[in-house]
C-alpha cells in the first residue's frame, strides 16, 4: 500500500516539480557562498521572526505551497489513473490517517522542516511568540490539508473543485492562454503573482529607506526567472491540449499574438505595482522594465519552439538568458536589450514554429 502511494503521489510530485525545486534550491542554497550559508539563513529567519508583517507574508507563501501540494494530490485522485484509489476507503480510519499524514508530510516536508528549524531558532533568540506561531501554523496547516485529502478519498461523490472565473465576454482565441491559466493553472498563477508581488514589495516598499539598484536588479531577475513557467505551460497548452490548432488557416503573426497578448495581460499585476511603488524610477524606466518582461517571455517561447522543449534544456536556456540580461540591465541598456530579444524571438519563432513536433513525455 505504502509503495503504491509513494509512487503515485510522492515520486511523481517531485518528478513533475523538479524545475520548481531546482529554482528554490538555487535561490536558498546556491545564491550565497558556502561559508556564509548558515549566516544567510539565520538572518532570513530572524527577519521574519522579528516582524509580524514579514511573518504573515511567509505564512502566505507556505499556504500557497500547501495549495500546490494539495492540488497535485487532488489532480491525481480526480484523474482516470487515480480512480483505483477509491479502494482506500475500505481501510480502517486510523490506518488511513497515518498513511495520508506520511504522504502529505513527504510532499510538504521541505517547508515543514524549514519551519520547525525556524521555530527552534526563534526559541533560542527569544522570539517566543513568533516561534509558537510558526509551530502552530505548521501543525495546524499540515493537519488541515491532510484532513482535506482524507475527506476527498472518503467522499468520492462530492469532488471538490477550485472555483473558476467566468468573464462576461466571448472567448477570443487571443485569450485562450489567459483562460487556460485562470482556469486550469490557477494555483500556479496565484503562487506566481503572490511571489512576484512579494518580491517587488520587499525591494520597493519594505526596503525603501535602503534602496539599492543592484538589489532591485537581482529581485527583478528572480521575478523574470519565476515567470519562465508561463511560456513553458503556454506552449504545452497549444501543443498538447489543442494540437489540432495547427490544422487551422491562421497566419503565423496571429499565432504569435496567441502568446503575446496573454503574456501582456498576465504581467499586468507586476506592471501596475511597479508603476505604483517604484518611486525611484522614471516613467521610461518603469515602462522599459515592463516591456522587457514581455520580450523575455516572447524569446523563451521562441526558444521552446526551437528544440528546447524538454524541461532541463529549457531551464538551462532560462538561466542563460537571465545571466545575459544582467549585463544589459546593469548598464541600463533596456531598449537595446528589448530590441535584441524581440529580434531573436522573431527569428527563432519563424524558423522553429512549423518544424516543431511535440516530444513524447
Amino acid at each position: 500500500m505504502w509503495q503504491v502511494l509513494s509512487k503515485i503521489f510522492i515520486r511523481s510530485f517531485y518528478k513533475a516539480n523538479a524545475g520548481f525545486f531546482l529554482f528554490f534550491f538555487f535561490l536558498f542554497f546556491g545564491a550565497v557562498q558556502g561559508s556564509s550559508l548558515v549566516q544567510y539563513h539565520l538572518s532570513l529567519m530572524t527577519s521574519f521572526l522579528q516582524s509580524p508583517v514579514v511573518l504573515l507574508l511567509v505564512f502566505c507563501c507556505w499556504l500557497l505551497y500547501h495549495l500546490k501540494c494539495t492540488a497535485f494530490v487532488f489532480n491525481v485522485i480526480n484523474s482516470e489513473a487515480g480512480k483505483f484509489l477509491v479502494n482506500l476507503q475500505t481501510r480502517r480510519r486510523g490506518l488511513q490517517w497515518r498513511l495520508y499524514t506520511v504522504v502529505y508530510l513527504a510532499l510538504y516536508g521541505p517547508v515543514f522542516v524549514y519551519g520547525i528549524l525556524a521555530a527552534f531558532v526563534g526559541f533560542r533568540l527569544h522570539f517566543v511568540t513568533s516561534a509558537v506561531c510558526l509551530l502552530v501554523f505548521q501543525v495546524l496547516s499540515a493537519g488541515a490539508f491532510t484532513y482535506a485529502i482524507h475527506y476527498r478519498l472518503n467522499h468520492w461523490l462530492e469532488a471538490f473543485r477550485f472555483p473558476t472565473i467566468s468573464l462576461p465576454f466571448p472567448k477570443s482565441s487571443l485569450l485562450f492562454v489567459f483562460y487556460y491559466f485562470t482556469t486550469e493553472r490557477k494555483s500556479l498563477l496565484l503562487a506566481l503573482k503572490a511571489f512576484s508581488i512579494t518580491l517587488l514589495y520587499l525591494i520597493l516598499v519594505w526596503n525603501k529607506g535602503r534602496y539599492d539598484n543592484d538589489a532591485f536588479l537581482f529581485f527583478y531577475l528572480v521575478l523574470l526567472l519565476a515567470h519562465a513557467a508561463i511560456p513553458y505551460f503556454s506552449v504545452k497548452f497549444w501543443e498538447q491540449q489543442f494540437a489540432v490548432h495547427r490544422n487551422m488557416p491562421v497566419a503565423l503573426a496571429k499565432r504569435a499574438l496567441w502568446f503575446l497578448v496573454p503574456y501582456g495581460l498576465l504581467l499586468l499585476p507586476e506592471a501596475g505595482y511597479l508603476f505604483y511603488a517604484a518611486d525611484a524610477f522614471s516613467v521610461e524606466h518603469k515602462l522599459a522594465y515592463c516591456i522587457n518582461l514581455v520580450a523575455n517571455l516572447a524569446l523563451l517561447t521562441a526558444i521552446l519552439y526551437s528544440e528546447a522543449q524538454h524541461r532541463d534544456e529549457y531551464l538551462k536556456a532560462c538561466f542563460g538568458l537571465v545571466f545575459v540580461s544582467i549585463f544589459f540591465l546593469h548598464v541600463q541598456a533596456f531598449w537595446f536589450w528589448i530590441v535584441v530579444q524581440s529580434a531573436m524571438a522573431v527569428l527563432l519563432f519563424v524558423n522553429g514554429y512549423y518544424r516543431f513536433e511535440k516530444a513524447e513525455d
Binding site: T164, P170, K171, S173, F176, Y179, Y180, T183, E184, F237, Q240, Q241, F242, A243, V244, R246, N247, M248, P249, V250, A251, Y354, R355, F356, E357
Partner: protein
C-alpha cells in the same frame, strides 16, 4: 467557383518521408490521389495516424504535400482552409464550450451557421454544445471533433478512426453525412479497422512496410 475547384482537388505526396528518432516510419516517393473516398487500412503502428497528421499539417515531415498545387509548406493558410482533420482521440481545452470551439472554427475555416446546425443535429451534438468540453464523454468529444472537421468548405477531410466510441445511430449518421458531403465534391481519407458501410464506391490504401500501397479494386457500393 470554389466548388469547381473542389471537384478536381487532387491530393499529392512527393518525396514524402517521416522519421522518428532516425527510424523511417513512412516513405512515399510519389502518390497522387484523385477526388473520392479512400479507406486507409493498416495494422496498429503502421503509420496511418502519422500520415494523417502530416497531411493535416500537425507534424513536420520531409518532402511535399499538395492539394491541386497548393503546397502545405508554402501556402499553409490556403492549404489548411481546404484540408480538415478529425483526430482518433480528440483533445480540446476543457474550459471552452462546444459552441465556442465551433465559433473559433467558423471564424478561421469559414462556413455557414445553418449548414453547421444541420450537421450538429444529424450527429446529435446540438444539445450539449453550450457545455464545457471538460464535461464531455469520449463519445461526445468524438462527435464534436467530427462536426468541427466538417466546418467550412474543405476539399479533403481526414477522419482518423471516426467510428470508435460512437453509438450505433451516430455511426449510421456519419456514413450518411460522408456520402452527402462526397456528392457535394468533398473527398475523404478514412482510417478504420472495419470496412466502410457506404452506398458509394471507395478505394483502399494499404499502409504497410513503411509505405502506402493503393489497392487496384474499388470497394463499397452496398
Amino acid at each position: 467557383m470554389i466548388w469547381a475547384f473542389i471537384f478536381r482537388a487532387m491530393l499529392g505526396l512527393h518525396q514524402y518521408k517521416k522519421n522518428y528518432s532516425g527510424r523511417t516510419i513512412l516513405q512515399v516517393d510519389h502518390l497522387q490521389l484523385s477526388p473520392g473516398i479512400y479507406w486507409v487500412k493498416g495494422e496498429n503502428g503502421a503509420g496511418k495516424t502519422t500520415l494523417f497528421k502530416s497531411i493535416a499539417g500537425l507534424i513536420p515531415f520531409e518532402g511535399r504535400i499538395e492539394v491541386n498545387g497548393i503546397s502545405l509548406r508554402k501556402q499553409r493558410s490556403a492549404y489548411t482552409k481546404i484540408v480538415s482533420f478529425a483526430e482518433a482521440e480528440p483533445v480540446y481545452p476543457g474550459f471552452l464550450s462546444g459552441s465556442e470551439l465551433l465559433n473559433f472554427y467558423k471564424q478561421t475555416k469559414g462556413g455557414k451557421t445553418p449548414a453547421m446546425q444541420a450537421l450538429a443535429k444529424s450527429l446529435s451534438v446540438e444539445g450539449y454544445l453550450p457545455n464545457k468540453v471538460a464535461t464531455y464523454s469520449s463519445g461526445m468529444l468524438k462527435k464534436l471533433s467530427l462536426l468541427l472537421a466538417f466546418t467550412g468548405k474543405p476539399a479533403w477531410i481526414l477522419l482518423d478512426e471516426p467510428f470508435i466510441t460512437l453509438d450505433v445511430d451516430a455511426v449510421a449518421a456519419l456514413h450518411t453525412i460522408i456520402m452527402q458531403q462526397h456528392r457535394q465534391g468533398v473527398s475523404f481519407l478514412i482510417s478504420s479497422h472495419q470496412a466502410l458501410a457506404l452506398h458509394e464506391p471507395y478505394r483502399c490504401l494499404h499502409v504497410h512496410q513503411q509505405t502506402i500501397h493503393p489497392e487496384p479494386y474499388v470497394a463499397g457500393a452496398l
